[in-house]
């Protein structure tokens, strides 16, 4: 179903279905990843209705909990939801499940793995985390040392992961482990899937500069993964994770729902004031704000252009590295500018002396410093661009 008339027909059925099924009490709300606590009856109802349609992960095949839709069709659902302030809570609820683990299982998984894991993810009930980084393996991920040894029907895992988002509330973990210590760095790595609810796994949340965070340390002590839960071939996990990280970058390139808040320039005028011509009273800040808004326009237009060139289907490609770096710059500059024009009011940590907007900007500013670090740092993205897109030789620094 790709032609315009059919797409419009589909739009009509989506509209009708949303009207009948979306609990209006949820309009304008967003989901946070807090596990099962405080979900609320309406949200549970909405999640289950959506999952029943296969619209939690609409482009996945029907047999695995999706709806087997094309990308243009999935976009129609998304557009129609936006129109009525509805949202798809399932990707957030599944944490890393829908955006990263699922697409990778679809590509590398066996039929058995697809059948066992995908429907749970698509239902929004099974939460996944990813055990990738380690204390001594950040940007240089391939130097990881968490080990897994085959023992009968399972792998026994020992080691430590860090920056595992939502590990404390996840049911499953996709972990990158070393299965051959004698091989070259990238050749002895495998990707295992294991349950978090077992004696060999413990987690510890990490408070960050912005306060509480979803990030955890995760410790594996004789933890076990079923041998049927090796994703991809033994010792070939590096190619699996490379693909997984492309999916991650992809999910980090879109700025999310269009903001309903006042335009940035209006907020700036409110704090800084204007001169007789209506221009922002601080001319230096004014031009930097203009520059930032241009960056934001350029980023948005680039996503639009790449989507148009791909005829509606955004390829998981090297272009994602460009978009990730550009998205990072836009997001970080925005909160820095807000902090600046709010002046002292932008520097509060908590309490009634500050507005909700001022306090949330501080936390966003601090938390946002992670954007240029996670998912492959700004510098790692530049390595990828120079090597994979521009075809420059590998730098000696990359090892």
């Amino acid at each position: 179903m790709t032609n315009k008339a059919e797409l419009e027909e589909f739009r009509a059925t989506v509209k009708t279905w949303l009207h009948a099924n979306f609990p209006t009490s949820l309009a304008g709300k967003t989901t946070t990843t807090e596990g099962d606590t405080n979900l609320g009856e309406d949200l549970v109802t909405w999640r289950d209705r959506l999952a029943g349609q296969g619209w939690g992960a609409p482009t996945w095949p029907k047999e695995y909990g999706g709806a087997g839709l094309t990308h243009p069709e999935a976009k129609v659902i998304n557009d129609e939801m936006l129109k009525i302030n509805a949202f798809n809570p399932i990707p957030n609820m599944a944490i890393m499940g829908v955006t990263m683990v699922g697409p990778t299982i679809l590509e590398y998984g066996t039929d058995d793995q697809k059948q066992r894991h995908l429907p749970g993810i698509a239902s929004g009930k099974v939460r996944w985390c990813l055990g990738l980084s380690e204390p001594n393996a950040g940007s240089d991920l391939a130097s990881l040392t968490t080990k897994a040894k085959k023992d009968g029907d399972c792998f026994v895992i020992n080691g430590q992961k860090i920056w595992t988002s939502s590990a404390d509330i996840s049911h499953w973990c996709g972990a990158l482990v070393r299965t051959d210590s004698s091989a070259k760095k990238r050749d002895g790595i495998s990707f295992l899937m294991l349950t978090m609810d077992q004696p060999g796994v413990t987690t510890k949340p990490i408070p960050l500069i912005a306060g509480a965070s979803p990030f955890c340390e995760t410790f594996f002590t004789e933890a076990k993964a079923d041998s049927g839960d090796l994703l991809g071939n033994l010792n070939e996990g590096w190619s699996v994770v490379k693909r997984l990280l492309q999916h991650e970058r992809q999910s980090q390139t879109v700025a999310g729902r269009p903001s309903k808040s006042a335009p940035l320039q209006d907020l700036a005028k409110e704090y800084v004031g204007t001169d007789d011509n209506g221009a922002l009273a601080d001319p230096d800040l004014r031009l930097r704000l203009a520059d930032h808004l241009m960056d934001a326009d350029a980023h948005r237009l680039t996503i639009k252009r790449i989507t148009a060139e791909a005829k509606g289907k955004v390829e998981v490609s090297a272009a994602a590295s460009i978009l990730k770096n550009s998205a990072t710059k836009v997001a970080q500059t925005k909160v820095e500018l807000k902090l600046e024009f709010m002046g002292n009011q932008g520097l509060g940590w908590e309490g009634d002396n500050f507005t909700e907007g001022e306090l949330s900007n501080v936390r966003e500013w601090l938390a946002g410093k992670a954007i240029s670090i996670y998912g492959g740092s700004f510098e790692v993205q530049n390595n990828i661009i120079s090597k994979n897109i521009l075809g420059l030789p590998e730098t000696t620094q990359q090892g």
Binding site: P263, Q265, D266, A268, K269, T274, G278, A279, L280, R286, L287, L289, A290, D291, L293, M294, D295, D297, A298, H299, L301, T302, K304, R305, A308, E309, K311, A319, I322, N325, S326, E379, Q381, N382, N383, I385, S386, K387, I389, L390, G391, L392, P393, E394, T395, T396, Q397
Partner: protein, 378 residues
């Protein structure tokens, strides 16, 4: 690259092939070295007319192909890559846009077919000082029985020595700086009272200062309403800016390609210099900026074609972002090439010199950052 129609892809491929085969940058060097009259080869101009490029914006009833601004932009990009010197932009884009936006039927019928067949060469005569300021018009147009008398001067007029008709912004009322009181006139270059002198510029292209000393213009030669032509002028300038931005994108893309090639072949310290991370990251940053600039350039051209209501904002975005990137890329072109980049024998200098001229034309980056902020009301 935007998703192109078959016709657009055809024009782009045709332009790419023609520019690289018939008018590569060596031809520009030849033009400069031989001090060719009017700073372009007559056969280059004839070839463009024969290819139909002068009619890309012109409706079919006036002999054009009406293919729109994105199509013209694709052409500009390819010409910008090879620094092709010609009056195509001045006449078939900037001048033609003024006629399309402000001309009445009689004016369109008289002029547009001649633009298409090359017997007329139009150009905008707007700025009067060293910096772009289309509202700072002092050139006076005094009402007479038969029309108007023009007195004043225009600076840095594109193809000012070769043009056959000037589109002149003149003050019919108000003071310098007022947008009210500005009118537009079509003035034949051979009118009595006009004198012009060529300017020698860093980019070796054709520009002139034009003096108007009591030039008589018939009332029928006014483009749009008397005193009220500023909006037409701004819309015309926006189309010129969007077209120049496309040329800038091409010029900078070529500079990027030359630099990337050098990074892959130049050996120092026993390695190709592109293997040094400092240079790999610089190239990655430049490439990212180029991709972002391309999106702005194409979006502005599309906004014009689709008659969007934010054309001014989009054109300032486009001119600014294409200018920012060209500025940086033209500097890096020299820096990364090192000593060879400093020599006149190598082409890098041509790109750097052309870059500063098109950056300044119709408003530089600072001008458009400011204007963009104004369109967003801050």
């Amino acid at each position: 690259m935007a998703a192109l129609t078959e016709e657009q892809s055809m024009i782009r491929d045709q332009a790419k092939a023609w520019a690289t085969e018939q008018s590569p940058v060596q031809k520009f060097r030849e033009m400069r070295d031989n001090k060719v009259t009017n700073h372009f080869f007559a056969d280059t101009w004839t070839a463009m007319i024969d290819l139909g490029w002068t009619g890309i914006l012109v409706p079919e009833q006036y002999g054009g192909s009406d293919l729109g601004y994105l199509t013209f932009g694709l052409l500009q990009e390819e010409l910008g890559r090879q620094l092709v010197a010609s009056p195509l932009f001045a006449s078939a884009l900037a001048g033609t846009s003024a006629i399309l936006l402000g001309g009445n039927n009689a004016q369109k019928e008289t002029i547009l077919p001649k633009v298409v067949d090359g017997s007329e060469m139009l150009t905008l005569a707007v700025d009067e000082g060293p910096r772009h300021a289309p509202e700072r018009i002092a050139l006076q147009a005094e009402k007479t029985a038969a029309g108007f008398t023009l007195t004043g001067q225009k600076t840095f007029v594109h193809e000012g020595m070769a043009a056959t008709t000037f589109i002149v912004s003149a003050r019919t009322s108000g003071n310098i700086g007022d947008t009210d009181g500005i009118s537009l006139f079509l003035v034949p270059a051979n009118s009595a009272g006009i004198s012009r002198e060529g300017i020698s510029t860093i980019d070796s292209r054709g520009y002139a200062n034009v003096h108007f000393d009591g030039v008589e213009v018939a009332a029928t030669e006014a483009l749009g309403d008397i005193d009220k032509a500023y909006p037409i002028l701004e819309e015309t300038l926006d189309r010129a800016r969007a077209g120049l931005a496309a040329e800038m994108l091409g010029t900078s893309a070529q500079a990027f390609d030359m630099t990337l090639e050098y990074l892959k072949t130049r050996v120092q310290f026993g390695k190709v210099i592109g293997s040094f991370q400092a240079l790999g990251h610089r190239a990655a940053g430049l490439f990212t900026s180029m991709e972002l600039a391309r999106s702005c350039v194409e979006a502005a051209l599309q906004a014009i074609d689709e008659g969007d209501n934010n054309i001014a904002q989009m054109c300032s975005l486009s001119k600014c972002r294409a200018g920012d990137f060209l500025h940086e890329m033209s500097n890096q072109l020299i820096q990364i090439h090192g000593g060879i980049g400093m020599t006149d024998e190598f082409d890098a200098g041509f790109y750097l010199k052309r870059a500063r001229v098109i950056e300044a034309a119709f408003g530089n980056q600072a001008y458009h950052r400011n204007r963009y902020a104004k369109t967003l009301d801050f």
